[in-house]
Subunit: 401 residues, 2 copies
Amino acid sequence: MLVVKKFGGTSVANKERIFNVAKRCIEEYKKGNQVVVVLSAMGKQTDVLLDMAKDINPKPSRREMDMLLTTGEQTSVALMAMAMDSLGVPAVSLNAFQVAMHTTADYSNARLKKIDTERIQYELDNRRIVIITGFQGINKFDDYTTLGRGGSDTTAVALAAALHADACEIYTDVDGVFTADPRVVPNARKLEEITYDEMLEMASLGAGVLHNRSVEMAKKYGVQLVVRSSLNTSEGTVVKEESKMEKMLVSGVATDKNVVQFAVKGLENKPGVAFKLFQHLANHNVNVDMILQSVEHGGTQDIVFTVTQDSADEALNILERHGNSSLKCDEITVTKEVSKVSIVGAGMMSNAGVAAKMFEALYDAGVNIRQISTSEIRVTVLIDEKYTNQAAQAVHDAFAL
Amino acid sequence: MLVVKKFGGTSVANKERIFNVAKRCIEEYKKGNQVVVVLSAMGKQTDVLLDMAKDINPKPSRREMDMLLTTGEQTSVALMAMAMDSLGVPAVSLNAFQVAMHTTADYSNARLKKIDTERIQYELDNRRIVIITGFQGINKFDDYTTLGRGGSDTTAVALAAALHADACEIYTDVDGVFTADPRVVPNARKLEEITYDEMLEMASLGAGVLHNRSVEMAKKYGVQLVVRSSLNTSEGTVVKEESKMEKMLVSGVATDKNVVQFAVKGLENKPGVAFKLFQHLANHNVNVDMILQSVEHGGTQDIVFTVTQDSADEALNILERHGNSSLKCDEITVTKEVSKVSIVGAGMMSNAGVAAKMFEALYDAGVNIRQISTSEIRVTVLIDEKYTNQAAQAVHDAFAL
């Protein structure tokens, strides 16, 4: 059996944790399995490197930034190989050049294109544990690239696909995927299984266990993932195509406080107004989330949408610049104290009344809904931030999760 | 004109120094020249990485050690490219993979075999300053290797040879090569020129400006070197095949306190004794320097030799293990408070009486000679360490340097 195991930066932040991971991988190896380990940079190493760069050049080129950042994972993998070696197990570290981890040309946000497996297979055949740098690749110019947020998860999934691995385990600091954030909803339950689509909705809603790109890739190549804790040996949550819990209406409740609501009021009611508004935002890389367009009243209409907190200043800037001239709006309001509460479940598709049940639970809890957005397997409401926890608890209880 | 400039770790130890180097290279670039910069790891970065490794595994594999250490230079070159970019000059950093810096397979002490110049030439043709990681290479397995001590100098010389550079400048924290160490002999003078052979003798005697391997390579490929300061714009010392100072008997006086003398007394006077003794030492990688074998007295003989301080414990260990059994010696004595004083000069070859003049100067200064060793262009004496400075001064004055 061939197993890919991915450990994040906190799991390799110091000597003790490095040995903890080493022992865990050696256990797997001693069962007779082939083991491929994917690592991120140690602890805050990436932040340290970012700060060094910013100190030298406030706007460093992305090509050189990737050249700098890739030293982080190379440090982790070399130290891990030394740790395993000191425990008497042969191990070898490989970086993006040595594997030949081909990506698109985009620095700082590249996408994996192709992974050569020859060297990895050679090392595995020689009964070595193979430790590979996550997050990084090389492009057609033979330059380093990095994969952006959640990059190491993506590396692990891509390796599992390329090597036809029997398992791909993503180790984190939580036990798996929960029906809600246990810090918000104390009686939240760990899920045994979840579908790719549910996981994608959960991830984009701030559940934060797996990055969307890795789940998308897992779905595309049919790689079955296990999300589990690096701190204990509990079973974790399996992410796969079809969940045996399919019949459950709702798998989980997600909350997200990283949201700011904008209302652009009194826009002319004519074609192209919404297009112009969102094009201005897109041109400046501001990602817009929930969008609501009001019905006309008195010849004008309002458009309401949300962005993440770190995009809020930029969004306001753009709106103020274009608000009066090209958009001709009356007023722009910004509401920062809001949050999103969502229910996610593959079973929703074939069941009416799920949204209504959620709204009822919120009404009973005295929580006012400011905005609603839905997908096939998700219902999201925007509410006042101070009610986040009680709203999540009420919805969690209503669906008996 | 194509110029290769090499800067050591102290020259890039912090932001200010990085910018200092960047500006210096940009001056050259703005003259219309093509500029290749070779850098070492920042300041004590290599030591930090070594300590991290030793903490994980007291005997790390050399392969993984090289994987770890090569992150050091990669960090320097990326930051340097960012610094030049912030000063408005296009620059690109390249590591051993990107250049394709082929070496022998030996980890931690590899030798350069072949450098591909295509990528470098492409970047130079596009009017970029090219910043290359010193000290590192890749071997036939596509693994990182490092070149051992003085490795970055060697990288610079090899690049100058491969690119047919018009100049190869080695920047250090001193103004050039001196007739003696100015801290030891206050009236020491900077040399305008020195031959490769003289430089080789100086380097091996602890003058420490250039590592022997880089000088050997420069000699082999006829690369004219300039050793100069990164702190000022003084001219430095040219290292080349023939010096116009050829007629000078002596170019410089070198001192070296990093030496321990061993005397192995009462050895049987029969063939193979010296061979056995030095084979034991060589088997444990103890490099032996000055060797003196006494004439026979009473059926036995003594062998006296020196090693560097960091090899002294190991050497004693080996001698004690084998002293009584295979070597059958009477006594082993170790003298730590000794130092070497040497004169070096290409003119010595054709001039008798140089050694005698040195001995006379030492006698006049009241310095006792413990051991003597000579080469074609060098005379070295071993003396009590406490007399090092006055011996150096006396010899320096005697030859009117």
